[in-house]
């Protein structure tokens, strides 16, 4: 009657490669029957953005953040060797060649495997992101909920 093991990841980074690592670990853990949560905070929220522009009322600063940050996983850059966008293209080409899953596919798979995707409400406020701009079927919570998940976690990572 063992309890399920738990994996809880804070995804702070807005890099394509780091987000891939987070989602590969999350999907692996879900396949091994862990209860998995990814808590998206700061730039990590960009992985959850829809790729089209959503009309919502925003102040000036919030509009600027909205424009400057990548709209969705597909548009994120690399943590290194980004070369003004050439690096991500190289990585994506090589991933396609090896039949590796892209980040948007990894996110979809995570949702199918019932990985809990959480958007940090505090940083949504700061960056001016609204629920309409983020993917469907995610949860909204703050640091207290993260800690409640993490304190019984077997694998806790900050990425």
């Amino acid at each position: 009657m063992g309890e399920k093991k738990k994996t809880t990841i804070v995804l702070f980074s807005g890099d394509y490669d780091k987000s891939m690592a987070a989602y590969i670990i999350a999907n692996g853990a879900a396949a091994y029957d862990h209860e998995v949560t990814i808590f998206h905070t700061f730039w990590g929220l960009n992985a959850l953005r829809k790729d089209e522009q959503i009309d919502v009322k925003k102040g000036f600063m919030e509009k600027m953040f909205g424009k400057m940050m990548p709209r969705g996983a597909e548009k994120m850059g690399l943590s290194r060797m980004n070369f003004a966008g050439f690096g991500p293209k190289m990585i994506k080409d090589v991933m396609k060649k090896h039949n590796a899953m892209s980040l948007p596919q990894l996110i979809e798979m995570a949702q199918e495997q019932e990985v809990k995707l959480v958007a940090c409400t505090m940083t949504m406020d700061l960056l001016g992101l609204q629920q309409e701009e983020l993917l469907e079927n995610i949860e909204y919570a703050g640091v207290a909920a993260y800690l409640a998940d993490a304190e019984d976690g077997n694998v806790n990572l900050f990425i």
Copy 2:
């Protein structure tokens, strides 16, 4: 008679946003009655620097590091969208507008909540930082003390 839960964070990064995340998690954990330690190493030591210049004897390299690294939390840059210092200003403006706590306030709150703030003595040596240059009421230790805290930790993060 349950033991206290434990959160232990290695703060390696010298970025304003990552340090904020570390201190928000730490303050949250302390509020939930965890025993919390932040072990500041490498560039993370900059969060503990006093903001004025302190007169201490230093060699040439140590002086250069001292000059090139930000003097205190208020002067740290962002991990992305730094835009030569414009990014931190945007973030701070937006934080003020939302009544979010600044990094120096988060550090003060951590000290009030008895979060144990530790400076890594090995990297202090390397970067030529001396105790007089760092905040009061912090501890000094090495990797052995970190591991002693972390090995019984519930939430262990490297930020």
Copy 3:
């Protein structure tokens, strides 16, 4: 008959300073009798590269990645203050002055202390790295093996 404590580190970063932090924690944990694993993925694989060029058959993309990525620990850059390679030289000079171990020495020590060094086969494929190009006496595995180590870990870090 207590079991051994376990430390499991994902080394994702290809930065000299972050890799140093990973290996210092790993060596510390091994000295305190932990069972220690470093799982090298993405840019973290560069720490395991041999420093000479190895003749292996590669496609065009794989050759480009091979050329653009640092060949071995000694050639890695810093996560900040890299200054086109000047930063690493400063750090190395100051480390020598303080008799601190260099990253290649830390890796050697880890191997002597039987820290398990693992190369992530999935990212080796992606980046076109072959076993002949990596250090001797390391293991090859994927995310499943990482999770098997990490889920019983006391200290789990993503660096």
